[in-house]
């Protein structure tokens, strides 16, 4: 036993391997990454259509609109986090591997953020400009979205792990995650609107960062536990 354990690859190696595999999978199936992104842009387009083209109104509503759209897009992408792995049995391979499941879950979550959170962050300046947000606010929006989507990926991975393999998983996932994600939405949208109004916004960014750090240290354990439970 000891001899075999000595030959196992280290944690960082297996984290990198998980990441590589996930990124390769997304590369082969770019729709998984692009669909939530299009969804984000479309939801953002719905609001001007619903509220009318008044620029003042749009600029006022922009932080909230962008954040709600980002939250929904993240939810949409979370659904597929463990779905195909569950369907083809590779999830069970992960569970059976001698490496700690926490590291593997973290790897999958990081990959999820890289393929869904990061594109949202990169797309957001274009939408922010379309909504006439002040130029100085765009950086605040991007950093807030970065921290927020990290939290959402981590939080969502717990929900996705709990609902993997359930028939009505999608709707259920939203029910589980949305109340938990409300602090992120509050901090995020508030930070951006404070910045747009020219107020001090650092408090919101700090809170978002604290939430992201807390989620980073706790959520992978919950995800691993949830994965074990739903694959019993």
């Amino acid at each position: 036993m000891n001899g075999a354990a000595g030959q196992l690859p280290g944690l960082l190696v297996c984290l990198r391997a998980t990441l590589q595999r996930e990124l390769l999978l997304v590369l082969r199936r770019p729709g998984d990454m692009l669909n939530p992104l299009f969804f984000f842009a479309m939801v953002c387009t719905l609001f001007p259509l619903a509220m009318g083209p008044s620029e003042e109104q749009l600029a006022f509503a922009a932080p909230g609109v962008l954040w709600v759209a980002a939250l929904l897009a993240m939810l949409l992408s979370l659904n597929s986090l463990f779905l195909s792995d569950h369907a083809d049995g590779s999830l069970e391979q992960l569970l059976a591997s001698p490496q700690p499941l926490v590291v593997l879950a973290l790897g999958k979550t990081v990959a999820h953020w890289l393929t869904s959170g990061l594109p949202l962050v990169l797309l957001s300046p274009a939408l922010a400009m379309a909504f006439r947000l002040p130029a100085g606010t765009i950086w605040v929006l991007m950093s807030a979205l970065t921290l927020g989507t990290v939290s959402l990926s981590l939080l969502g991975s717990v929900g996705a792990a709990l609902t993997v393999g359930l028939h009505r998983g999608t709707a259920l996932l939203s029910l589980l995650i949305l109340p938990l994600a409300m602090p992120v939405l509050i901090f995020g949208a508030r930070t951006v609107s404070l910045s747009a109004a020219g107020d001090t916004y650092s408090m919101g960014l700090f809170a978002l960062a604290a939430y992201a750090v807390g989620a980073l240290s706790l959520a992978p354990f919950a995800t691993a536990a949830a994965l074990r439970i739903s694959n019993e």
Partner: protein, 250 residues
Amino acid sequence: MWTFLHKLASPPHFFSYAKGLIPWFAWPGYALLIYGSFAGLFLAPMDYQQKDAYRIIYLHVPAAYLSMMAYVIMAVAGGIGLIWRMKLAHAVAASAAPIGASFTFLALATGSIWGRPMWGTWWEWGDPRLMSELILLFLYIGYMALRGAIDDTAKADKASAVLALVGAVNIPVIHFSVEWWSSLHQGPTLVRAGGPAMDTSMLYPLLAMILGATLVFVSLLLRRVRSEVLQREQRTRWVKALVLSPKGGR
């Protein structure tokens, strides 16, 4: 001590002694509720600012407190069930959820009715307590939805326990975020009379209501856990023996 605890946690044993416990919680609880509502509604003096409208606190405060208490019980029981694999703890968590959700709804409804004369609106978005309570209701709904979606009871128990624990970690953050959010909100200044300086003639009925509601809550919880245990253990020998016994388990 340990054997006593082990016996306590065994479903058939629990089933029989919980039956004996229920009246000890239920009757004092209902008595306190009757005293509290009578004293609160008729004996307590009128508030000089809120007139008679303040009297809804006799229902609102116990409901709000129990809505949070039930979540704590649910999360702690879920954690115990997850760590020590105690079946009874999961049954407690499963039974606490609907009661907690009902109290949350009651707290929201009474808060909203109170808000109508006080704030002039049924729903005040700027009040952090109202918002936290609403999110708490959503958490309960998510918890019960997850439980309902998983057919296998053992799996549902563990999965929902994880969710309850994640939620319990999140609740302080939610509360803090909502406070921060509403402190920036340009809402009307909320006048909350009463507060710490409350006359004893108003305070005692309130304390009676809180204690009474807690006792009734425990008796309701025990009742639900009993039926939950019965349902979970329906294939075991002791339940069959109980059902076939002359009194049919009553």
